[in-house]
């Protein structure tokens, strides 16, 4: 079992955890920030080698194309977030919003969070998946509580209680799933592994699978911020430090959707069990509509974009709910493109909020008049989020609509209605952020170099949407075919 960890996948998981330990001991926050960035970059380098070891399956680790794809995405977003974090932290300390003692905890938890996410993606054992998600939740809760404002504490308390209860249900679901696989695979690690489950799924008892599916969907649905269970997401984003929001909105939702996608595979294999399409589609649509309408009254910019994450997670869940290679392809592309765009958006918003000394729409206006580069980047990000051409979200939403119409035009109509309502308010807020009279800039003006990661992300989104190279298209198609 131990030799599992000696592989590149093992290294990818252990590196951040080890970095978390080191960062726990490093006293000065400046060194900590640099180490954090270096660790994240190293992790991405290691993960870049993962495609070579696709197909490695052990009792603990399972490396298939879907896992590798999301690991690459998570590591890349973590890397750019860590670069952004170095600059962000310097400004926060200079404006005395974060005291030096807390930063050691911040960097340690940052790396623990990334390590936990990679562990979930690459694990084969349901127990490890659950423990990793638990560790990620605790790390995130501590980081969100960092700014020590009243709102931050309330946000982390809400985050912890809701996610704690959610994953408790997930643990119960894991137990029942194990119970279902017991008669076919016998006691021991095999009955707790994704490969074993997929193999034993046709022979399991459908009713037990249903029971397990309910608990697991609710548990991991909370982490995926699906509609009624999304309440922790907006507060976590608004109060926590922005680099954390960049990862939180991008990777945690993807990881939870990844687990649900694995679960969908198991459920689809068993004919007696209920078809996972209906609940997923229902929750996805509810997320899109609820987020679309909740965007309008928002006065806080980061809370506004967190609802946009809930909306796009809903679209991905909807696509996975419909099922079939085309819909899964669209859902996967949408998840990828949205993660890249959303982390770029949070980086722009973070810089703007620091510059304007506040994160309400009233504080940040008229960016284009005297900060043309930042204003243009934020405008491009929000245009991409609104699903307008030429960025990738337009193509992915087009593909999702194509798949939805194949299922039923009414579903597509409801989905696109939600997307139009959300696009409308995002355009209106974009205009208030970037255009009109400019507000004062008490904080430091970010250098142009700071926006390089943002343009990198947008370039990737543009390429993925309109000019996806053949190899990447083959990669996405093989993933879509592999996940049933």
């Amino acid at each position: 079992m131990i030799h599992d960890l000696a592989t590149t996948a093992g290294a990818a998981i252990l590196l951040p955890l080890f970095a978390a330990l080191v960062l726990g001991l490093v006293p000065s926050w400046r060194v900590g920030a640099i180490v954090n960035a270096v660790a994240a970059t190293l992790t991405f380098a290691v993960v870049a080698f993962l495609p070579a070891s696709i197909g490695q399956t052990g009792p603990l680790l399972l490396v298939d194309r879907l896992a590798v794809h999301l690991s690459l995405l998570t590591a890349f977003v973590a890397m750019t977030a860590s670069w952004f974090s170095t600059a962000y932290v310097r400004v926060e300390v200079s404006q005395r919003r974060l005291n030096k003692a807390r930063l050691r905890q911040y960097h340690a938890m940052f790396q623990l969070f990334c390590g936990a996410l990679l562990a979930v993606l690459l694990s084969n054992n349901l127990g490890i998946t659950w423990v990793a998600i638990e560790a990620a939740t605790i790390a995130a809760a501590l980081v969100i509580g960092l700014p020590r404002t009243a709102h931050a504490v309330e946000a982390s308390w809400k985050f912890f209680v809701l996610c704690g209860a959610g994953i408790a249900l997930a643990l119960f679901g894991t137990t029942v799933l194990y119970l279902a696989a017991l008669p076919a695979l016998g006691p021991g690690l095999k009955a707790m592994s994704w490969t074993g489950l997929r193999q034993a799924a046709p022979t399991c008892d459908g009713a037990v699978l249903n029971l397990a599916f309910v608990f697991l969907l609710l548990g991991y649905g909370t982490k995926a911020a699906l509609a009624p269970l999304h309440a922790w997401m907006p507060d976590a984003h608004a109060e926590g430090p922005t680099p954390m929001s960049a990862i939180l909105s991008g990777s945690v939702l993807n990881v939870a959707l990844f687990v649900i996608l694995r679960l969908r595979g198991v459920m689809k294999a068993n004919h007696a069990a209920i078809d996972p399409a209906f609940p997923l589609v229902a929750l996805g649509l509810l997320s899109v509509l609820l987020a679309a309408f909740s965007l309008w009254p928002r006065r806080d910019v980061k809370r506004f974009f967190s609802y946009s994450s809930v909306e796009h997670a809903g679209v991905a869940a909807f696509a996975f709910g419909i099922g079939g290679p085309a819909a899964t392809f669209a859902g996967l592309l949408h998840m990828t493109v949205h993660t890249l765009t959303k982390s770029a958006t949070f980086q722009c918003v973070g810089r703007a909020a620091q510059m304007k000394g506040g994160q309400r729409f009233a504080d940040i206006t008229g960016l284009m008049s005297n900060h043309r580069a930042l204003g243009l980047s934020l405008a491009a990000c929000v245009i991409a989020l609104a699903g307008l051409p030429p960025f990738g979200l337009f193509s992915s939403e087009f593909l999702v609509a194509l798949a939805a119409v194949r299922a039923s035009p009414w579903l597509a109509a409801v989905l696109l209605a939600g997307l139009v309502i959300a696009a409308w308010v995002q355009i209106a807020r974009l205009q208030s952020l970037c255009l009109g009279p400019a507000t004062a800039d008490p904080g430091p003006v970010p250098p142009h170099a700071a926006l390089v990661p943002v343009w990198l992300h947008l370039a990737l989104v543009l390429a993925l949407g309109l000019a996806m190279p053949g190899a990447v298209f083959a990669w996405f198609t093989s993933i879509a075919q592999a996940t049933p």
Binding site: N125, G127, I128, W130, V131, E134, I138, A141, L142, G145, R148, A150, H151, V153, E154, S156, W157, K158, F160, V161, G164, A165, A168, L169, L171, F172, T175, V176, Y178, L179, L182, P183, G186, P187, G188, L189, A191, M192, D205, A207, V208, N210, L211, D235, A238, P297, R299, D300, R303
Partner: protein, 225 residues
């Protein structure tokens, strides 16, 4: 696994301990004062440890004894003592402020248990009877823990509701034969982490506001943001 049914000692004792854990959950719902609540929680921890030990004996799985010891030590002793010290150190108001009255929440608890049994038993016809019984009791304890978190305002009772839900989970994990040790480590790890975090929270909340009443936190949430 030999046939388990009435009259077989292993089944009867497991059934008894599961029922005891369920009763402990109801007693938690019944409490009006915080110290009594903590002691009841300690009792439930001990019952859970006994159930784990007994499962270890029945399934001849050595690791369950370790789990029993861990549970007894953590949930039976350390957490209640720490909770008592916090209550005394921060001189928290002793009475529990309830959102839903004690009797209505008890009635709701009974309904939840009925639902748990109605859901678990017909669906797990294939599994061994011992596992089905344990699962039903475990689900009931989890639902009662969740109910406790919803119907009480004070922060400490929410914490204890959360912990009793964890007890339900451990009961479920223990009940299923052959669950690998991983679950045990996670259980322990979880308990430790929760206590640590709650400790930090309590300290910080205490530092932030004067009372532990969660509703005070709610008022912070009311400002439109």
């Amino acid at each position: 696994m030999q046939h388990l049914g009435y009259g077989v000692l292993a089944y009867d004792v497991a059934h008894l301990l599961g029922g005891a854990a369920l009763v402990a959950s109801f007693v938690l719902l019944y409490q009006r004062r915080i110290p009594a609540l903590i002691n009841t929680y300690a009792a439930q921890g001990i019952i859970l440890a006994a159930a784990a030990a007994w499962q270890g004996h029945v399934q001849h799985a050595a690791h369950l004894y370790v789990t029993a010891a861990l549970t007894l030590f953590a949930k039976g002793a350390i957490i209640p003592v720490l909770l008592h010290r916090i209550v005394r150190a921060l001189d928290i108001r002793r009475t529990i402020e309830t959102a839903l009255g004690v009797f209505p929440s008890m009635v709701l608890g009974v309904v939840l248990v009925a639902l748990a049994i109605e859901v678990v038993l017909p669906t797990t016809l294939g599994a061994a009877t011992l596992a089905r019984e344990d699962l039903a009791f475990a689900l009931s304890v989890v639902l009662l823990g969740l109910l406790m978190m919803i119907t009480r305002r004070t922060a400490i009772t929410q914490v204890i509701g959360f912990l009793s839900m964890e007890n339900g989970l451990i009961l479920a994990a223990v009940g299923v034969a052959g669950m690998p040790l991983v679950v045990e480590i996670s259980g322990a790890f979880l308990v430790l982490a929760i206590f640590f975090v709650f400790g930090v929270f309590v300290f910080r909340i205490r530092e932030r506001f004067d009372s532990l009443d969660v509703s005070h936190l709610d008022r912070v949430g009311e400002a439109p943001r």
